[in-house]
Structure formats: C-alpha cells, structure tokens
Amino acid sequence: MTSLASDLSEPIPNTGAATRVGRAKRVWRLVTVLTGMDIKLRYGDSALGYIWTVGKPLALFSILYVVFGKLVRFGAPMPHFALYLVIGVMLWTFFVDGATRTMGSIVANATLLRKLPFPRLVIPLAASLTSFVTFGLSLFAIAIFVAANGIAPKLDWLVLILELIELYLFVLGLGLILAVIHVHLRDIEQVWELLVQLLFFLSPIIYPFSVIQSATYRKIMLLNPFTQIMQDFRALILYPNHKEIVDTGFVAPAAFTPLRIAPLFIVVCTLVLGFYMFKREEPWLAERV
C-alpha cells in the first residue's frame, strides 16, 4: 500500500518492480487477515471449536477402521493398517475440504466483492489456506499414530514438506477452476460432490494398493496427483525399504521416471489453468457473482 500522496499533482506510479513487491505484500497481508477471520468464523460458534478439525477425520477414520480393518479385513496382510488408513483419511479430508471451500469462497463473499475494490485472488487464497492451516492440526494426529506404532522419524521425511506443498497447490488449482465455474453454474456443487465420491473409491484410501491386481491399473491410478502424494506419504513413513511401485505405489522422489513426473505435470497444469481462468474472470466477478 502506498501512503497518502501528500502532493496530489503527482500521480501514484503504478508500474515497476517496487509496486509489484508492494502489491504482493498487500495481497499477503489481506490473505493472512482473511484466513485468521475464516478460522475464527469456522469454529467460533461450536462448543468444541478446533477439536472438530481433528475430531471429524478421526471419527471417519474410526468408522473406516472398524469396517475395513476388522469386519472386511482389507488390512489383514498389512502391518500398521491403522496408520496406513489414518494418513489416507487425513490427506483426503484436506483434499476435499480445501477444494470445496475454495470453490464456494467467491459466492460466499459476494457482498465484499460488490462493495470494495481489492485483488480478488485473496478470497480463494484465504479459503484454501484456512483449510490448509486446520489440516496442519491433523498432522499432529498422524504424528501421534506414528509414535504409537513405534516408528522413529527419519531425515527422509523432510521430503514430505515438498509433498504437502504439492498437495496444497493441487487443491488451490482445482479450487480456482471450480470457483470460476461455480460463479456461472451453481450446479457444479452437485457434480463435484459426485466426483468426490468417485475419486474416493478410485484412490487407495481405504484399501491397500496391492488389492488392485493389474499393474496397468495401478499405474493409471498413480497418475492422480492425490494418489501419488498419499502413497509417497505412506511409503516414506511405513515402508522405507520398498522401492517397488508394485506394492506401494511409491516412486523414489529422486527417480525422474514418467510416473513421477506425470502427476507433477498435472499439478502444474491444474494450477496454471486455475490462475488463468481466475485472472480472466476477475474484472467481472462483482457483477457476475
């Protein structure tokens, strides 16, 4: 933000790198303010507040564990099935929550968009970050499970930070695309809900990856960036010695095989498309929303 120009005859310059840095700073400040308020709004009203962020996915985990760990016994041949499942459920919860909130953020903030001029991008950025921050709390739940399973942390796990960033960017890109569609076509909410169901079963969240018999299908499933990220998480924590894609879907991050690069490429494309669609829509958001 430029301070008040005391001499009004000097127009405020609006080009150059200095202003670009200023703009980025302003966007960052707005995003942090809005994210903070979003978090407050989300849990301010409920009695248990922030406990729900971790509580809900944990409850979902418990249900799935009883059904698929004890009754159906997907996890029979696997050590640490509970940990396998909890990682999947937590990551999935963030994936769905982040994309869904980002999708609805523009319409939810219609009043603000109609009354004030500001960089519109801060709205979906704040929505996705809110989701990411609350997901951060779930990571503690995973940490507790890891400790309970007697697994010692390794230096390799630092790779997980990159995986988390990749997941966030994928969610942001997808959320931006959905948000732009949502402005024009509210039906996307229903379509997205169904897609979420489909993706849930097409990702090895509740079942071990080895349940998929065909190696070809496994490779196709690994093209999904979410699946690849989730399997990397599990492999790094649970199966450090497996280098085999067949069992775990884990491809060593350093191995630049097509199967490692393709999901990354999809993430980049999603993000670029999301930003492009949003930028094109931005000047008209106030009247179309």
């Binding site: 933000m1 430029t2 127009p11 310059p13 400040r29 707005l30 809005l34 709004l41 009043t111 004030l116």
Partner: protein, 260 residues
C-alpha cells in the same frame, strides 16, 4: 489501497482534476428466466439467453480536486453503477476512468461487513481491504469506534447491531482510510439526525483539507446544500453538469416537482 492512479487507458488527467470520466458505457447481461417448468424439463441443457441492460451510456465528466460534487437522479438511473465503475469494482465496457490520488468507497451503505463477526474483527477486515496497514489500523481503532459511537459494543457481533449502527461503523471505517477522494452513496439517508450532522461536519473537514468528496443522493435538498457542483443522470446518460442549484432545479423541473 482502495485505488491508486488507476488508468484504464493512457490519457493524462488534467492537473486540477481528481476524477476524469471519459465516455464510459456499461451494460449488464441479465440471464432470462426460463418460461415454464415444462420447457425446463424438455430442454434442460439449452443455453440461457441473455438480455442486455445498458446502464451507463457514454458518460463523461470531470470532478475537480477538493470539490464537493453531487450526483442526482432517480432510482435506477445508474448512480451506483457509475460509482462502482469509478471505484474499480466494475469494469466499463469502454471508456476510461482516470483518478488522481487514493479513493475510499462507501457504496450501498457499507464496506461489506460480516454480521457473524464482532465490530472489532470487521474493522480489521474492512480496514485491511481498504488499504490500512495493521499499525495504522490499531492506531485509528479507537477513533473509528468513537466516531461510530459504539464503544460499548466493540466485541458484539454485528448481527446484534441495528442497521443504523452498522452504517455508522461502515462510514467510520471508510473515512479513516488515508484517501484523496471519498465516494459517499446515500449515507445521509440513514442514521439519526445527530449522525447526519456529524457526517456533514466531516465533509467540511475534508473540504478544508483539500480532499474531494463525491456525494450521491436521491434527496436533492442534500445535494443543493452540501455540494458546489452537481450532475444530473437520467437513464444512464448525463443530462447536465453545473452548479448544484442549477442541477437540482433542473431535476425538479424534469420530474415535474414544484421547487416550493
């Protein structure tokens, strides 16, 4: 910042002007309602057809630095659309808006409050969106609350506020932004007499400080009293720009209202 020197084109602004509006037009596309439920079922995938509604037609005028400028016209004549285009909330179909200095908008009686949050939180959000840094905001916080006279209710959620209280708070935030140009849409129509008087006093302060105030009202008496110059807008076109007395008389004449 609410808006810096925002140039839609490359023209230069005269040194004595705060706002130059050059030939802006604005049309909205309004999706047409489907005619019947039966049609909806028969052709669920037909593309919605749009009706275009031309709200501003080739509007041009200039507002001088430090002046108090009024805009009058009936409901639906395009006043708010014009303000939103000047503020950069809408983008014009064509034409240019040239601004000199920072602009603070107070349009449709608010700055977009969230009624689930307290006054304190809302001030933090609106203030940030309007371009105040955190330290500036904290520094001005007491003043914002004091002007709105809401000291006792700072931590109450806005949904428990009366609409008058919300408007007071919104106006109070809008004027704490370091602006050169203030756009005020109908603030005098709400709020009690005492608050109106306070608002009018702020106008005098702004004028004394050389700031530009654009006042919009469908109450011509307020324009006559508080503005030096004014513009009459009719169906999205400028009818005339002149001294506020002339313009208000013209407005009454065209509306067939007797001045007395």
């Amino acid at each position: 910042m609410a808006s810096g020197a925002r140039l839609n084109g490359h023209g230069a602004i005269a040194a004595t002007d705060a706002i130059d509006v050059c030939g802006i037009s604005k049309t909205f596309r309004i999706p047409q309602e489907r005619l019947s439920l039966r049609q909806h079922f028969l052709h669920p995938l037909t593309r919605t057809t749009y009706e275009t509604n031309s709200v501003l037609r080739e509007v041009s005028f200039s507002i001088r630095k430090g002046e108090r400028f009024g805009i009058v016209g009936r409901n639906g004549c395009g006043k708010t659309t014009l303000l939103k285009t000047i503020a950069g909330i809408y983008r014009a179909d064509h034409g240019e808006v040239r601004l000199r200095g920072m602009l603070s908008p107070f349009i449709e009686l608010g700055v977009g409050f969230n009624t689930e949050l307290s006054a304190r939180d809302n001030i933090m959000i609106s203030g940030a969106l309007l371009g105040l840094s955190k330290s500036d905001l904290l520094e001005r916080f007491d003043e914002i609350i004091a002007f709105a006279e809401l000291e006792r209710f700072v931590d109450q959620r806005l949904k428990n506020y009366s609409s008058g209280m919300q408007v007071r708070l919104a106006y109070s935030v809008a004027i704490q932004v370091p602006f050169d140009i203030l756009i005020v849409d109908e603030v005098l129509a709400v709020g009690d007499a005492k608050f109106q008087e306070k608002c009018i006093k702020t106008f005098d302060d702004f004028s004394a400080a050389g700031k530009t105030v654009v006042l919009v009202s469908h109450d011509p008496a307020a324009i006559r009293k508080h503005c030096q110059r004014a513009m009459l807008l009719e169906n999205g076109s400028v009818v005339s720009v002149g001294s506020s007395n002339e313009i208000v008389d013209l407005y009454f004449e065209r509306e067939g209202i007797s001045t007395q």
